[in-house]
Amino acid sequence: MGAYVLRRGLRTAIVLVVASIAVFYGLRIAPGDPTGGVLSPTALQEVRDAYRQRLGLDEPIWVQYGIYLKNLAQGDLGSSLITGKSIPELLGFYGRNSLVLGLAATAIIYAVGLPLGALAAARRNTAVDQAITGVSIAGMGVPNFWLALLLIYLFASRLHWLPSGGCCAPRQLVLPAVVLAAEGAAVTIRMTRSSMLEQLGQDYVRTHRAKGLAESVVVYGRVFRNALNPIISLAGLRLGWLVGYALIVETIFQWPGLGYLLVDAILRRDYPVAQFFSLLLVTVVVVANLLADVAYGIADPRIRHA
């Protein structure tokens, strides 16, 4: 097991180093530069050049990368070229907001997905099942940004019940959390349902029934617990998707989380912010996938010897 974790961990580290170089180079060879976000469009070329020189952007990219690594080794993560705020400062504020939104969405995904999926499986081929399945198919078909607009239109513009965006009151969290959770909840319903149905066909279920256990104990006690395995093993993947969807949802609701910050930094070519937070999100995703694999390896010995 130790060797397996080490091998996967090493591969993850290599990927992260390659990703950091790619992001660093990619951002700098892309069209545009940070002066566009700070200086007026009519600024003289000399002013622009002086500004670039002050930021160290006139050096060759590999020299810049070396300086970046040297600063990194001294614990200096850099700061925004546009607002001047330091990276740890940004991480504290935006990171906390992302965490709040992500946790709220995750809670909704499983609080809605697991019970509804189990219910649909227990009442297979009844009106209840069809209604739940229908809702989950719709949930996967409606893109989250479109769902966001519909909910903003209904709850903010028409009914005035909830704000259309902003941060960080609980009332402002409701719509983004629901939108971020929608697709995941729909997928979880379908996975729980099919996983339950698969379990319900197993021999042990017949044994439990034959020995006289109440049907509700069989379904919600025994079967449900076994049906959870594939769902848990895909939780790492879900986290990755949540990070991706958060880019869109946070931008729509102007929820100042990491996704919002990253999209904004990329559009304004704020290199230090863009590269740090791209790498942070990539790391979160890659490590989540790694943990999921390792957890799966612990649960199923066949995997780690493959």
Binding site: I29, T251, V286
Partner: protein, 301 residues
């Protein structure tokens, strides 16, 4: 995403099995698909979408970027504007069909290419095993499962926002999905008796792989393709919506929705028209995928 079992009620046991076998597997599959009304509806929507995307822009009544302030905010079914106009008087039908063409290119086009690449890579990895498999699997392992939207935003950061970034991200992630599934199937198939028989009768390896093994992985690959097309369409629209994909005035469906969002109270159709188009095709493709899986998966027969 495609993780669920059969949604269709069990077929009545009266399948005319003999005739079905005589008619060949494709005809059988088609007959079973035609019986699944939801899947049929899904494939009709998909076909309509493809036709609109290919032919629509050719026969569009207006230039998608032509503004006409005197004709602004006309509701659908106005004279000369079937679906109405937007806030600067551009014809929504002409914009819609161009938007559909863009999502067709990203959704169907890129998925088709990545299906070919991924299937080939997965088949070779699964069939050859050894170091080929190790290398391909290592790449697939990291690519698959990486969030498409995050990758697309990173590409947008390095290439500048635009459709190229979206297309690259969709292609790079999706081929790995196909490769992963096909490799798994081929690993099992290469030990199958009919493959052994083919080998014993002296056929060369490429011929065995392409003529005997690959046709058997087509089914799972096709099922996956229908979900991936839907995913590609959603991702393209979403990225364009937040300004990371297609750039105005190019009317990607996401761009259209973004441009209309500030006018939802006055002229909701500017966002409703492209929104309904996306929802319809994505739902249609998901239903088609569910139906295809029920029809093509031999384990359900």
């Amino acid at each position: 995403m495609a993780i669920a079992s059969s949604e269709a009620p069990a077929l009545p046991g009266s399948l005319p099995a003999r005739r079905a076998i005589d008619a060949g597997p494709l005809a059988t599959a088609w007959r079973r698909l035609a019986r699944n009304r939801l899947a049929l509806l899904g494939s009709l929507v998909a076909v309509a979408y493809i036709l609109l995307g290919i032919l629509g822009p050719i026969f569009a009544p207006y230039d998608y970027a032509k503004q006409s302030l005197l004709q602004a905010n006309l509701p659908p079914l106005s004279e000369g504007h079937l679906l109405g106009t937007d806030q600067v008087g551009r014809d929504l039908y002409s914009r819609l069909v161009t938007g559909i063409r863009i999502s067709l290119i990203v959704g169907f086009g890129i998925t088709a290419i990545s299906m070919v690449v991924g299937t080939a890579a997965g088949a070779i990895a699964g069939y050859r095993r050894g170091w080929t498999d190790t290398v391909i699997s290592a790449i697939v392992e990291f690519t698959w499962g990486f969030p498409l939207i995050l990758l697309a935003v990173l590409f947008a950061g390095t290439l500048g926002p635009g459709l190229t970034a979206t297309i690259l991200a969709v292609g790079l992630i999706n081929w790995a999905g196909f490769a992963r599934v096909v490799r798994g199937e081929v690993l099992g198939l290469r030990e199958a008796e009919f493959v052994e028989a083919a080998r014993a009768s002296g056929l060369n390896e490429p011929r065995i792989l392409f003529r005997h093994v690959l046709p058997n992985v087509l089914a799972p690959a096709l099922v996956m393709a229908s979900y991936y097309v839907a995913l590609g369409i959603i991702v393209e629209a979403g990225l364009s919506f937040i300004g990371m994909g297609a750039q105005p005035p190019l009317p990607s469906l996401g761009v259209m929705i973004a441009e209309g969002r500030n006018y939802m109270l006055q002229s909701h159709w500017v966002t409703t028209v492209p929104g309904v188009a996306i929802v319809a095709v994505v739902l249609g493709l998901n239903l088609l995928g569910d139906g295809l899986r029920d029809v093509l998966d031999p384990r359900l027969k």
